[in-house]
């Protein structure tokens, strides 16, 4: 009998009890007016610890060589195809890492994917254009692309102007990029990161320019626009998984499996909550998740 899943669950629960014990003990002797720890946020801490433990355990297993199954994500597989198309056509690849600043985790995900895309682009010797909206992203983007070119031994082909600052204003940025798309007609447009009202303006212009388009964002309100105008769309968590998926590194893929484990816990919690609420006995259960 395979006892690994059972052992994993026991380890994760043990880690949770161990770490959450500290704040519980520290809060034990405190009075109401002198409390330093926010007891009302204890469920969040417990969840964060379970989540961290799961991600770390799976990452460790991946490091030890345990095979992990990751489902295929069509949008990410299409990246190589899109770059190949651009190479055949002799046209550039446009990559936009969102329009938010570097403190946004979606932008960091976008930059991580940019690193992987830049490697493919460098191997195929295809022109790359990365317009950005913030100076910090300019510096980070140039670093990422330069490193990618160096790693595939094409440092000589790297041009600093591949990543360029366009405009700080949202619609000035959009107008510039749209104008560039209509003039240069890139073969592939890749949008990965945080997008707002400009998402459809960019994607529709790219569609009119005849480019193959791959988009990824974690913002549900922008997803319908990308789905309508792009060939492939990465939805929500797929954006964060893309970099790990493209890397094919077991260490990175371990994090994705840890995420899946927590998703199972959440699904069970939702079903339990729905059953309790239907039976009219869910008050205490609701209070656990009512974080101040």
């Amino acid at each position: 009998m395979n006892r690994r899943p059972l052992l994993a669950t026991i380890r994760i629960l043990a880690a949770t009890i161990f770490f959450s014990g500290f704040p519980i003990l520290s809060a034990w002797g405190q009075t109401d007016d002198g409390s330093v720890f926010r007891l009302d946020r204890l469920p969040v801490l417990i969840f964060a610890l379970v989540f961290s433990a799961a991600v770390l355990l799976y990452t460790r297993w991946a490091k030890q060589g345990k095979p992990l199954f990751i489902r295929k994500i069509a949008g990410i597989d299409a990246v190589e195809e899109a770059v190949g198309r651009a190479t055949e056509m002799g046209k550039p690849v446009l990559f936009i890492p969102g329009i938010a600043d570097v403190e946004d985790i979606e932008t960091i995900a976008g930059l991580s994917i940019l690193g992987r895309v830049a490697k493919i682009v460098a191997q195929y010797d295809t022109p790359l254009s990365v317009p950005v909206r913030y100076p910090m992203i300019l510096a980070a983007g140039q670093e990422v692309v330069e490193q990618a070119y160096m790693e595939v031994g094409r440092r000589d082909a790297y041009d600093k102007d591949m990543v360029k600052y366009v405009a700080g204003e949202q619609f000035a940025f959009t107008a510039t990029v749209n104008g560039w798309m209509m003039r240069e007609r890139p073969a592939a447009n890749i949008y990965m990161g945080a997008f707002f009202a400009e998402s459809l303006l960019l994607a529709e212009t790219g569609n009119a320019a005849g480019s193959i388009q791959i988009a990824g964002t974690a913002r549900p309100e922008q997803l319908p626009f990308f789905i309508a105008a792009c060939d492939y769309t990465l939805m929500g968590e797929e954006l964060y998984a893309a970099s790990s998926y493209l890397s094919h590194e077991p260490l990175m893929l371990g994090g994705l499996k840890g995420q899946d484990f927590v998703k199972i816990i959440i699904i069970v919690a939702i079903i339990l909550g729905a059953v309790l609420a239907t039976l009219g006995a869910g008050e205490w259960y609701h209070n656990i998740f009512d974080v101040g």
Binding site: S112, L223, P224, E237
Partner: protein, 220 residues
Amino acid sequence: MVISFFFDNEQIFGQKAEEFVLQWVTIVGGFALVLGVFSIVRVNARAVAMKSRDWPFKLMTVVSVFAMAVPAMLPVSKSSNGGKVLFSIIPESWGSLFGTGPNSIYDWLFNYLDSPMMETMFAMLAFFIASAAYRAFRARSADATLLLLTALLVMLWRVPMGEAFLRLFGDSVPDYINTFIMNGFNVAVQRGIIIGAALGAASMSLRIMLGIERTYMGKG
């Protein structure tokens, strides 16, 4: 930030940690602004002087920076800082043109140049939505037909005339659309995406904090 979420910051720092950090951000931002203006002028002025590619646009950039900033910084009356000197040269009635108040040059440039340009771009979204909706809602398959019918019902429900039309089939029909489509299927799917995205973001943050994910720094 993570630690401050779980602890009472007022007990530890005597004030909210976020406010404390924000004060520093404002100070650093002030210095960065000066550096930014110096940089934009230096880069663009050199391009204009050398008449490099697109130099008229670069000249326009430099002119725009000063056209917005200089009048906004000038004193608005004799009692303002430096007002006595300025209004000994020009009439004091011109004071209303300076600063950032109503009818100032800054206000005029913002309201009649900057804002309309941004609004024009935003307004174009309506046409882009129409063309994207046309492609998305074509009834080519059973799924697309279902999407088309759902969209049709929601659009009817969203406008007063459409709502009146739906009420012809029963007073509760618009409420059913709200309950089942918007608050049912729509919210369920959105929450699924949001939960997945939140877990993805948390997992990525963890990978970054532990140094497993370093691609965003050009490593790995």
